[in-house]
Every structure is written in C-alpha cells, then in structure tokens.
Symmetry: C2
Subunit: 764 residues, 2 copies
C-alpha cells in the first residue's frame, strides 16, 4: 500500500519540543507522502485540483471582456450540460438493465429448460460456463483496456470531488469499459451490483461533457470554453453522480441526497437545484423507456425490469410493540455491517498482493471466484427439501422459466425449492422475492440462513475483482435475507410482515456498512414505494449507523484510504490544534524572481514536481523582498511553449502580451498536462528572460506561520485550495516560508513528523 | 427601510479611476451601512457572529486541558441537546395543533349550531367577535411583550445561520409569545400558517438549550460550558429549524432538507446526521401523541388533527397526455408565485409605514384585517347556490359540525354550500377538502375562483400583521384552489383527478413563491403520502421555479432584504471581480499597541462600535511595526472588568495570567454583551497598561489589499468570518491596511461607493 512508505520518515526524538535547530532540519526535508494511489486496479500518479480563482492579468482581462451574452451563454450551457448528463445517464441506466435482464434471463431460461428435462449436469455446464465466459470477458477488458474501470469507482469519484485528480478515471475508454464490464459482471451471477458503476458512469459522462469531449480521441467541441476550470467541472460531476443513483434505483430524490451526503465535499444551494434537475431528467427518460418496454418489445425485460420493489401500504401498520425487534435488527445490522467492512478491507489487502504479481493473476482470480459462485448457486439448492406449493399463492407455483417466487429447480410438480428461489435468480429478483409480502411461510429458516451466509461472504469476495462491481445490491440482498431470518425467528411475537422485516434488514445492513442516513432512507423509500415505512427505516438507520460507527469507518472511506487517495477531511484532528503551520511545512522551497531567467525556470521545472511557485520581487525591483504572488507550473509551461521570452530583464509591455489569450491558460480537463521534457528550448533562449508578473496569481491565499494547523485546514478545505502560502510572522529575509498542499494535511504525514501526537489522537 | 440611508453616501464622480487621492479620501470615510434591521416588527441593532477559531493563549490552554472525558462529554452533550430539541419541538408542534383544533373547532361548532337554528346574525356576531378577540390578544402580546416574535421568523433565523445576530430573536420571551401568538393567530381564521412560526420556535428552543437556558431570567445550567461559542450554537439552531418543519408537517426528511436548502449557510455531513436524528425524534414524539389522541382524549382534535393529506395511489396513474396541462400549471404557478412575492413586498412596505406611527396602529391594523376576513369568510358563501348532495358521497352530506367536505351553512337539508366547505373551515380542513379525490363534481368553478382570489389577496394582507404568522399554509391553500380550478377547466380533456390537480397547483405556487426544489418536493410527498406523485411534482416545481426566477427572488430573501438584514450571499456579484479589497475597505482604522495604555483602550472602545482591533507591535518592541493579531472588544471588556492592569509597560508573566480562565472569555450566548459604559475605571488605573499579547488572536485570517473582492468574499463566506484583516502588498508604514466586515461586502455599500458598477450588474 502506498502509504506505508511514510513510516520511513525520520521520527524526531522529541518533536513537540520546538527547538529551532530541529525546525531548520525539518524544513530542509521534503514531504515524503506518496503522490500515487490505486485508481481502479492499477497504481497511478495523482494530482490535486485547483478551485482557487487565479487572479492574474489575463484572467482579469478575460473576465472583463465577457458581456451579457457570454454570461447568458455560460448559464445556458450549464443547464444544457446537466440536461445531457441526465439524458445519457438515463439511457445508459436503462440499457444496462435491459442487457442484464436479457443476458442473465436467457441463461436462466436455458438452464431451467434443461433442468426440466432432468439434464442436470448439462444445465450446470451451461450455467457455469456462461458465467465463466462472461466474467472472463469483463475482467479482460477491465485489465487490458481500462484498469481504472475496476471496482465501484465511488472512492475515485469521491476523491475527485474532494480535489484529487486521477487522470484516467474519466476517460472515454474507462466509460466504455465501465458500461460493458458492469453489464457482463452483473450478468455473470456474481454477487456484485450495478449502482456504483452507474455512479461512476454518470460522473464520467459529466466530466467528458464538461471538458467538451474526449481529448485523446480528438472529439472535442470548442463552444465549451467557459468550462475550462475545475470548479465548473466539479459541479457537473456532482450532478453526474446523482444521476447515476437516480438511474440505477429510479430514485431521483435519493440520488440527489446520495451525491450530497456521500460524494460531494463542496456544495451549495444552486448545485442542489441543478442536480435535482439532472435526476428529474433521468426519471423522465426512464419512465418513457419503461413505458415503451411495457408493450413487450424488450425481450426478457419485463415490467419488473427496473429495480423497484413495491411493498404496498397494507402491510405497513405497526404498533409500539414492534419497536424492540426493530431496534434489535438495527443493532445486529450495525455489528454485521461494520464486520462486513472489516472483512472487505482484509480481502482487498490480500487481493492487492495478488494483483501485484501480474495481470494473469487478476483474471485467474476473477474466473475462480466465478466458478466457485456458480458451484454455490447451483449446488446449494440441492440441500433444500422440496416444499409443496401453497394453495393460496398469488402466482403460478412452481414457476418455470426466469423470474417468480417459487422456483421448481429439481422438485417434482406441485413443489418448489425455496433455496433455488433465492440462489437461482438474478440478484434483483431475489431481492424482490425477499421483500414480497404475504410470503411468510415461503422460506424455511435454514434456507434463509444458508443464503445469508453465502451472500455475506460471496459479496465480500466478489467486490475486489478486476471488473466493475458495486456493493449496494449485494448488501441489500444480504441485509434482506438477514431481516427475513429475524422475522422467522420472531414468529408470532411480531405483527410485522416478513417482507417488511426484509426491508428493515436491508436498511440496517446498508446503514451499518455505508453509514449514510438521509440518502439511504430516501433511496429505500423510493425503492419500496412506501412512505409509511419512513419512521421505522429512520430508526433502524440511526441505530445501525451509531453502532457501526463505534467500530470502524464507512466502507467507501476504508477503500479510499486503502487505495491511498489523499482525501481531505472537513474536520481537523485534535493534534492539529497543537501544531502550527510552521511545524509541518516542508522545504526546500523553490521561488522565482519577478523577472526570471529561462534557464532557471526550465531547471526548476525539471528538478521538481511542484505545481506552484512563489514569485518574489527582489531588490532592486523593490525596496525589500516582496511576495508578488504564485505562478503555476501549467502556466509556466505555456509560456515556455509560446516562447514568451525577453532578451533583457524588463517588464513586459502590454503590446507584447497581446499574443496570448486567456484561453491559452485555461485548464482543458483532467488528465496529463504538457510535460516539460517535451518542450524544446535552445541554448540561446535559455539565457533570455520571462516577466512572470502578468501571469502570476497576484493575490494567493496566505496564512501566518503561527496559525494552528486546524485553523489553516479550515481555510484550505473550505475554499478548496491546491496551494496555501505560509508567510512569516515578522518581516524576514524571505516574505514566504513555504507552501502547504493537500499532502501536508494528511494524518500520515503529520504523524510521521510527530509520532508522539498519535497517542493523543483517537478517532473523531 | 434602513438601507435607504446608504443612498446618501458620497458618490465619487469617476470611481473606477483608481486615483490615489480618491483612495485616501475614501479610506478616511467610514462604512455608512446601517447596523440596525427590522427584527420581527421592531428595529433592533444587529451584530455579527464569529465562527473563527480565536487562537490566543487562553484558548490554546483550554484546548490542551481537555482530556478524553471532556471530549466524550462534549459529544454526548451535542447529541443530548439534539434529542431535547426534538422532544420539545415535537411536543410544541403537537400542542399547537391540539390548541388550534380545539379553539377554532369550538368556534365553528358554536356558529354552526346557531346557523342550524337560523340565527344568522348572532352566528356572525360570535364568529367575528371570537376572531377579533383572539387576534387582538395575539397582536397585543406580540407588540408589547416580544415584538421579535412577529411575522414568520424565517428571515431572522436564516440571517442568524448566516452569521447575523439579532439579540432578541432567541429569548425566552420571544419563544413563549411565538407559541401562544401563533396558536391564537391561526385560531382566528386569518389566512396565516403555523409552519414558519414553528421553525422559529424550534430554532429558539435550540438556541436557549445551547446557551444553557435563559440568561435574563437566570435559568442557566453550568454543564454546558463547551457550547460557549457561535459554531456549536449555529449547528444546534440548524437542527432546531429542521425540527420545526418536521413538527408542523410531520415531514422528518422534508424538515432536514428544508433546513439545508433554505435555512443553513454552512453545512457538513455530520450536521445532516444530527438534524436527521432530531427530526426522527420529532416524528416519534408526534406518532406517540397522535396514538394517544386517537383514543379520543383530546377534545375536538381528531384523527386528521396533524396536517396530513392522504392522497391514495389509486388516483396517481397518469399518461404522457397529462404532461402538457401539468407544464401549464407550472408556468402559471411560477407567474402567480412571483406576483405574490411582488405584491407581498409592496404590502409589507406599506405596513412598515403604518407601524412607524405607533403601537396602536399595529393593533388597529391586525383587528381591521381580522374583521374584514371574518366578513369575507361569513359573507361570501351566501353568494353560492346550494347544491344537492351527491348520492355516492363517501361521507355524511351535509356535514353538521366542524370538519367534513360538505358544509351545510344556510342550505336546506340534503344540500350543501360548496363555498362554505372552503371558507367556513380551518385552513387545514380546507386543504384536505381540496386535495381529496373523487370529488370532481363537488365544487362549482365560480366558487373555486372566488375562493382562489380571496385567498390570494387575504394571504398577502394577513402576513405582515403584528402577530406570528406563516406563509406555507396559505400558499398551499391558494395553490390548491388554483390547481383545482385548472382541473375544472380541463374537464374531460385530462384523466387526472382534481385532487391531484390541487396537489400540483399547491406545488407550483409554492415553487413560484418559495423557490425551493428538493425540500418542497419531499415535504409535499410526505404530506400527501404518495410517492407516485414524485415525477409530476418534480416537473411542476422545476418549471414554476424557473419561470418565477426570471421575475424576482424568493419570498424570504425579499423580506430579509426589506428588513435590512445583512445577509451574505455565497456567490459574488460580477462587479466584485473588478474591485479589489483595497477599493472598499474603509477607515479610520483603530489599532492598539501590543502593550497599551488603559486610557487609550477605554477611549477607543467608547468612541467606536467596532468589535475587533488589530494589535501592532511597534519599535522598540520589534524592529519594525509587526501585526501581532486581532483583539476582540468582548475580550478587552473582560480585561477591563477584571482589572488586568500593569503599572509599567511590560510583558505579562504567566503567574499573572493564572487569574483568568478560558471560561471568562467564552461567549455565553447571543444577546447584548457587557457595555463599556458599565465599567468603572479610576483615573489612576487609566494611566496603567494592559499587555494584550496573551489575549490577542495571533493568527487572524488576512488577505492582501490587491485581492479582488470576489475572491476575498469566498474566504469570508466560506470560513464564516466576522473580521478579515487586509494587509498591504508591500511593506509599509503600517502592517495592516484595514478590516473587512460583513457590511463591507453588502452590495448597497459597494454600489454606494461605486455607483457606476450598477449598470454592469444585473441579477445572478
């Protein structure tokens, strides 16, 4: 894991003793925090995003030149992009469902028909080999075409919205692989979900639209020039992630809340409205497409195609006596959920060891888990005894073919196999069976228990595979089975329907694992379409989250940490109050003069990987050293590329500056910027000068070196900075002490410098 | 209106011409922005809140002294307070309903009985005089006991959460008057609602609990000492406002979203969870109390007591053909809503003129509006012709007594008066009638039209009276009647039930007037208990908000501006990009030396109303003038009170400092702080010194004077500052140029200085 490198940072013996010598010593050391992270299944370099307004002359000129028309165009574009994100997310969400229902459905129809003819071995062969081929394809494209598409994508998107840019997560290739890979992975009967991949897909669409198309493949549109900054793209990606949840669960309000509660680090009212608009578009697109499919033109995609578990209100009356079992459900859900997170983290650690051995191992792992899953799904139902069909069943029993509550499997006519009803079905159908009301006697409690245990562990082992996969659906499935089990145990002591127990069980496990509150509550309400469940779901979620929070963090945060993504928390750790900014800022600091030699700039850019450099006016330009501002690496590279050189050290004339347009300096999207090594500078040019003043951000945010780390974090995180300049308390030989970046606020960096803080720490 | 004073600020002739002379001239002028605002119905002085971490030695010591136990105690207290806020808000919400239903219900029972005996004049007499007495009482207590309780309270609470402290809004007196006044105002059959007063009530409870009880009446608890800062109280008040909506509409999720979308200026995930917990408590308390009342122990409080309009799902099937009328509904709703806001603003302006004439006029106005309303409610139904009862009515027709769809009024047996069913009812019952399904033929379209017009205008005239009043319920009522009217017009062209049209009409008018999206959507869903309406409500809200936004702002923002509350917007106006911080900062600046004479401190505190003063170390203490930090007026007053004087100008020893505890400097709650004039300082002491260093915030946030106003606003608003120090670009005679406060960012102040910016401005 990338973070572990930090343990090697030299631990000062008595660090809180603020000896001046130590300070000097430390300042000459550089931050050893890792600048790479696992993105998808590969290790990639990561960059920070920059939400600061760069106030240099060019930016100001560009702003002044914008008239009413451009501002209107900008606003219009914002809404159009949200609209397009909604349309695409809706279409892809629907297409995803359609494909899964048809691929998986076809598989089950063929196997079921073989079972009817009692060709069990052949049925297993077809079943297992289909799953094998499908997951093989999924892991092959993920591994070799777009490793960034592996996994859920939530940690990467969440980190992006926090200001961490992993270039490949939003590429066109990732998008395509994510869509196709998710469809195949879900179709392969693995215990993986489609919700999180759809969130990543939605964000990816938003990012691609926001940067005007794919840069790599040259499909770009010019009319998007006002979106060339990280702030606008961040907003759009937030809307995209909301659209993803809306598309996967047909839960528009839930999607907005999910984006707000789980994904976004910065949020404002206007964004709420835009994401609401986006999810409304998704809902309308889905509604329209489902209406079309209801006329039967979509193959095996039935009315139940889009996950939507109608639990009608009849079963939702409850009394005060039902509260204790519900609370117990919450407590157990919290424990199971936090244990789920714990196990998942261990498994992911093991997987990452395996992955380091080579690509072949990844594919091998995916295929063997698939084979094992096929064996479980096909083998375990044989353990169950056949049960006679209930006389008052609301539907055909046994059902022959794809979906339905009562699977025939190997049973004689008039009987059904309750375990097959759960295992030998798509995950969505299994959830629907568990949630269905009036089926209290359908399942034997041993069957439910076997299903729960299998689900719990297979869900954990299936997540980390080299294929797009989500946790939402498996966790709902596991939680629903555990809820139903509790319902069976309660027996006649409770008036609640077992379908309702299943819903509450799903809520408790979701709360224990994902730790969201309002958004999960609304998603579950929209999923079950029953508002009367609200108080119970609220109670269960609060209890399970509280219980689980005493053990560990939410699952996405755990994975994010495991991946080494430098996520910036909103709250400061207690030890940050005791350290000042001066204590952690590291050197050596690279500065430029206001008018700097080209050679120096080239050398510094080649020697360091920094992205911002203080510009200092030295005497004789000014009376004393004065901080002129901060210049960005990206802007310096543009200057070098455009050869904005002066033969003598003088200030640039305004005529000279006309060769640049603000657009030259705009950031065109996430991804690798121009490399310094690709720029040719002749030896002659090396001795020329660049006047950095017009290109310098003349008013960077600064803090004084005596400020506590906690207080500076509030500024850094609140405003969304990439660089924070530290200035000395008293006028000094230098007007700037150092630069703080995201990595300087990472607990592992600070605790590496001051190990004695650890004992004072503790969570929260 | 207070703002108008700013128009007198001297308009520089060519302000954007950055002449140095002009700059000096302006810096010697002071900010003329008003420091008072309308709070409730009276003009009060307002202060800013301070969310900055004050890093002086005392604060640091206090933090270091906190062990694990104190931190746990703090967290435990936070949750306990949320729990208590939920309990109290739920109880008060329920009690409010109970009282209204019984007072208003009794009134209608008595009048209806008189009507049955054909004693019409006596009935009118009882009806009008009850209304008159009740509103008289309400306006008397509001005017003479707690003027801050007048109106909805939403603008004041919203401003508080933005950092504006109006002392009296959260006092115990205001709380009591708000509760009693709201009950009486709603019972008086005026077109006012209870939702917003309940939000104010919830916030008030939260604030009182957060400061450990009422300071004025000495009911305070000591165990709350960690809550002695504005940040924690802000969080609690946010939870309180969520609890208010949850209590009034039994909409826990809607309450959370309302607090987030409309009320809060700062928000983070942890707060979402806390407010969700609070509203969950409210929901459970309400459920429990309603269960108790269902056994009939609550007088006239029936099952319908808590506003909850069950629109069952049967009526919620719709087709693509129903979309156009729904869109039209949205467009008209947007226009009507923005016109509502426009008219309301005019009426409030007129009212404030009247109010300036004296208290008697306030009460006179309330009483005359009440009389006029009584005349309308009793008189207009006589215009309607009696209609024969439908044969298939689901309930008794005509209903005799309080609630029910078919009011008898003056009609012969077997007939009902459709206009009386709307007018001669509580507002809640009228809404329930309008929302009810299967009653398409109940109302004549002329009746609905008459009701709509009356409602629309009476709602506008009733809001600004000197009594607690809300807009939510009257807007729902008006919108529902307009929606039903559209439904009648559509006739057989639409398959939608007219009850559904009423819901959508209410949504459109709410969207057009309040301009919320997600929160209104969820509140309406929780209110109507029908999730299938979601896509339609979303569509209507989006359309009506979009249409209305082209005309004016949302109603609360309009009222807030009218009241002169200095609300700090999150986004910067375009002209703020063209002005630098140095352009707007005003003087004269009052600074202190690190070791200052008592006389100077006393004189400065008496001469100015500033709340923060830069502390500068001059030679010989340092080599050159150095900014030591910022000292707060409140802390200076503590020092003067505690007589922390030194006979010679020297640095304080640590022994000397032991006489203070961090608790001395804690801010104990909103409200007036100690006045400088109450502190006795002898002539002898006047010549002594105070060492300000240990009490100075040594690391205030600073910006450089060349930073654009827009960029500094991001810092100021993002971090929630009260004072922002402006430092010079180059080392200078003074290390600080000035201090920016909230008032310096107000558009009226900036546009007063630079009137030419106005033309470049425009909304958004």
């Amino acid at each position: 894991m990338p973070m572990e490198a930090n343990d090697e940072a030299p631990p000062p013996t008595e660090p809180l003793l603020d000896s001046h010598q130590l300070l000097l010593l430390r300042r000459s050391a550089s931050n050893t925090t890792s600048q790479v992270a696992f993105v998808g299944s590969n290790v990639c370099p990561i960059e920070s995003l920059d939400y600061e307004i760069i106030e240099n002359d060019f930016f100001k000129q560009d702003w002044r030149s914008r008239g009413k028309v451009q501002i209107l165009q900008y606003i219009f574009m914002k809404w159009t992009l949200c609209f397009l994100v909604g349309i695409f997310a809706g279409l892809i969400g629907f297409f995803n469902n359609l494909a899964v229902e048809n691929i998986a459905g076809m598989k089950f129809v063929i196997t079921s028909n073989m079972m009817l003819e009692r060709r069990y071995a052949a049925a297993f062969g077809v079943f297992a080999s289909t799953n094998f081929v499908v997951i093989l394809f999924s892991s092959l494209i993920t591994t070799f075409i777009a490793p960034a598409a592996a996994g859920s994508g939530i940690p990467e998107v969440k980190a992006y919205l926090n200001g961490v840019d992993a270039p490949r997560i939003f590429s066109l290739r990732t998008l395509v692989v994510k869509i196709v890979g998710s469809i195949t992975a879900v179709s392969s009967s693995l215990f993986v979900g489609k919700a999180e991949p759809l969130v990543h897909t939605g964000s990816c669409i938003a990012s691609l639209l926001g940067q005007g198309g794919s840069k790599k493949y040259g499909i770009t549109w010019g009319w998007i020039r006002f979106f060339n900054n990280d702030r606008d793209r961040r907003d759009l990606v937030t809307c995209g992630s909301a659209a993803g949840i809306a598309a996967s669960f047909r839960a528009p309000v839930g999607g907005v809340l999910f984006a707000f509660e789980e994904m976004a680090s910065w949020w404002r009212s206007a964004l709420l409205w835009k994401s609401f608009f986006t999810t409304a578009v998704v809902a309308i697109v889905l509604q329209g497409l489902v209406d079309i499919c209801n006329s039967g033109k979509c193959g095996l995609f039935g009315k139940e195609g889009l996950i939507m578990f109608d639990v009608t209100s009849a079963s939702a009356t409850y009394y005060l006596a039902d509260v204790p079992p519900v609370l117990v459900l919450g407590v157990i859900g919290g424990i199971l959920g936090s244990f789920y997170n714990f196990l998942l983290e261990r498994v992911l650690r093991i997987y990452s060891f395996i992955y380091e051995k080579g690509y072949a191992y990844r594919i091998l792992l995916a295929c063997s888990i698939s084979l094992f899953t096929s064996c479980c799904l096909f083998g375990l139902p044989w353990l169950a005894t056949c049960r006679p069909c209930p006389t008052n069943a609301g539907e055909a029993c046994p059902t022959i073919g794809r979906s339905g509550n009562y699977k025939k499997f190997q049973c004689p006519p008039g009987h059904y196999n309750d375990l097959a009803s759960l295992f030998f079905n798509t995950n969505e159908d299994a959830i629907r069976n568990l949630f269905s009301k009036g089926t209290d006697t359908e399942f034997h409690y041993i069957s439910i228990l076997v299903f729960f245990v299998t689900c719990y562990f297979l869900g954990i082992f299936s997540y980390g595979l080299a294929a797009p996969s989500g946790l939402f659906v498996p966790v709902i499935l596991t939680g629903a089975s555990y809820g139903r089990f509790v319902g069976l145990l309660m027996g006649s002591h409770s008036n609640l329907d077992h379908g309702l127990f299943a819903v509450l069980g799903a809520a408790s496990l979701l709360g224990g694992s994902m730790r969201m509150t309002v958004s999960l509550c609304v998603i579950l309400l929209e999923l079950t379409n029953n508002l009367l469940l609200l108080p119970m779901i609220m109670m269960v979620l609060l209890v399970s989250k509280t219980v689980a929070d005493t053990f560990n963090q939410n699952i996405y945060d755990i994975i994010m940490k495991l991946k080494g993504l430098p996520y910036l928390e909103a709250h400061a750790e207690p030890y940050m109050r005791q350290l000042t900014v001066g204590d952690v800022v590291t050197g050596p600091l690279q500065c430029f003069n206001g008018i700097e030699k080209v050679r120096n700039i080239v050398n510094v850019l080649k020697a360091t990987g920094h992205h911002g450099f203080p510009v200092i006016d030295q005497p004789p330009v000014s009376d004393s050293p004065v901080l002129s501002g901060l210049v960005l690496r990206a802007h310096l590279i543009v200057l070098l590329k455009k050869k904005a050189f002066l033969s003598t050290p003088m200030l640039t004339s305004s005529d000279f500056m006309k060769q640049f347009s603000a657009n030259d300096f705009a950031k065109r999207g996430s991804g690798n910027n121009e490399d310094i090594y690709n720029i040719e500078v002749t030896e002659e040019e090396m001795d020329m000068f660049i006047d950095l003043h017009p290109f310098t951000n003349a008013s960077p945010y600064t803090v004084v070196e005596t400020m506590s780390l906690a207080k500076s974090l509030i500024l850094f995180r609140g405003v969304g900075l990439r660089h924070l300049l530290v200035v000395p308390k008293t006028s000094n030989w230098s007007p700037v002490v150092g630069i703080l970046t995201r990595h300087d606020f990472m607990p592992e960096h600070i605790l590496g410098l001051y190990p004695s803080c650890k004992r004072a720490g503790g969570r929260k």
